[in-house]
């Protein structure tokens, strides 16, 4: 960081780089806030001056599906740290403090440590990834994420051959996250994990933005995982810790209801959830009287990922 060498200006006076790069958005938000007090919460996410323009699009992008309107993606999130209602986190998450974001990377790696998010972004190539996203609740959307392959991040810290799994942990910030504060339902902080081959698969990305702009807080800002062939709950939000492990970590939903939410959680229309069918899905933004879509095995990414599962019994390892 350059600012460390600058001694004449007290650190408290220096504008955070994160803030600096969003100054136009922030000023707009403040002005909007003065004019329309009720609109403050969403103003920081909406902007006609997006952070990233003309990013190269990943070859894995889905160019045939039409994008889900951004306002729907921003207002329909399962962020149980804030609310069990998908439409409440949009406001509640605005209290989250995400400045100066560090990620602790550790476990079976040569270079463990605290990594500053902006430093990571500076080192890696950001691209746009248009992915289908399928929730275990049988709704889906198509989102243009901005991010980088998780494999690139893992390479930065030199993984050891003993690393077999990757464990991710969400931020613990009980003063802004009401459900963490009252210890509701799940065992906080939220934990997810992938097998190492899944983690370094080129489809697996860490997202820092969507629709060309920084991630809205309710969508997992400032850094989230996106694994498009698995149910949405695997794509953990607001990641603060990444550990490479020798054994399979226990994950949050799997611990809550092991017979309902498996470790793999691969999208699979032929393996119903014990209480509901996974054979079809409601695509957000589709009109009234539009039938549900038929759900595809691996959310339609079978060509890329099926080989990883070989003859694994997908019914047993759901």
């Amino acid at each position: 960081m350059i600012i460390k060498t600058e001694k004449t200006i007290p650190t408290s006076e220096i504008t955070d780089q994160w803030v600096f790069q969003r100054r136009r958005t922030i000023i707009k938000a403040m002005m909007a806030g003065m004019l329309l007090p009720s609109a403050v919460s969403l103003a920081s996410a909406g902007s006609d001056d997006p952070r990233w323009r003309d990013l190269q699009r990943s070859p894995y992008s889905d160019d045939t599906a039409s994008l889900t309107p951004k306002r729907l993606v921003e207002n329909y999130t399962n962020y149980y740290e804030f609310s069990f209602n998908k439409e409440d986190s949009s406001d509640l998450a605005q209290h989250l403090r995400i400045d100066r974001w560090n990620i602790a990377i550790g476990g079976e790696v040569e270079k463990p440590g605290q990594y500053f998010l902006e430093d990571i972004i500076a080192k890696l190539t950001l691209k746009e990834y248009v992915y289908r996203f399928r929730c275990v609740e049988a709704w889906s959307m198509v989102v243009p994420w901005v991010g980088f392959p998780l494999a690139d991040l893992i390479k930065l810290v030199n993984p050891l051959s003993t690393a077999k799994f990757v464990k991710f942990t969400t931020l613990m910030q009980p003063d802004t996250m009401p459900k963490q504060r009252i210890k509701a339902m799940l065992d906080w902080p939220y934990v997810e994990a992938l097998r190492i081959d899944e983690a370094v698969h080129p489809l697996t990305i860490m997202a820092v933005g969507m629709y060309g702009d920084i991630l809205p807080k309710q969508n997992g800002a400032p850094l989230r995982l996106v694994v498009p062939w698995k149910y949405g709950f695997k794509s953990i939000k607001a990641v603060v810790k990444i550990e490479l492990t020798k054994t399979a970590p226990m994950t949050t939903w799997h611990a809550f209801a092991p017979n309902e939410y498996g470790f793999y959680a691969n999208v699979n229309p032929d393996v119903p959830h014990p209480r509901w069918s996974q054979s079809s899905e409601r695509r957000l933004g589709s009109g009234y009287f539009m039938p549900r879509r038929r759900t595809e095995l691996f959310n339609g990414y079978g060509e890329q990922v099926a080989a990883m599962y070989g003859d694994l019994d997908l019914r047993h390892f759901f």
Binding site: F84, F256, W276, L284, F289, P291
Partner: protein, 213 residues
Amino acid sequence: MPGRISHAWMLSTVACLLPLFVLIFNVLNDQLGANPVQAIHVRLGDWALRFLWITLAITPIQTVTKWRGMADYRQMFGLYAFFYASLHVLAYLFVDHAGVWSLIVVDILESAYVWFGVLAYMIVLLLALTSPNAVKKRLGRSWKKLHRLIYYAAAAAIVHYFWQLKGNLFQPLFYLTIIMFLLGFRVLVWMRNRRMNRLMIPKGRVVSLEEGE
């Protein structure tokens, strides 16, 4: 209602139809959020459940307040429970699934929570069909027995509600608590009546009473 349409009857009808008008207003003004199809579906289901609960609340209210003449409203609320349940089913079949039967059949077969919804609806449908006074007269004593099936409909409806959720149980627990009170009240009344009967009627005469009826 006997004979004429009273103000109370008019008022109740408007109140019962209000949720539907609000829903239509919300649809026309795009106020149902990111997943309006599901929102319609859930809203209709919620109102079917609420009317079922209101229907079950009438008898305890009558007993406590000793206010007679609510039986007609019990029938009315019951029919509105059927009305909203029917819209709920129609929305599932023809809005969410757009009448694509290959999708619907698989969904019903694989979704355990739907089975309980189907069971609840079958019962409510049967009760609605046997609701007219003419049918009631023809069925005689078995009508009352038949309409006790409403307790099974309530139980199936609450399981249907619980089983579709991922784990946030606040709202179904709220409805469960209310139904426990409503059914608990009936159990208390039943137990009291049985005790009274035992005190008042010599054992040998119970049989002869029933025969004489």
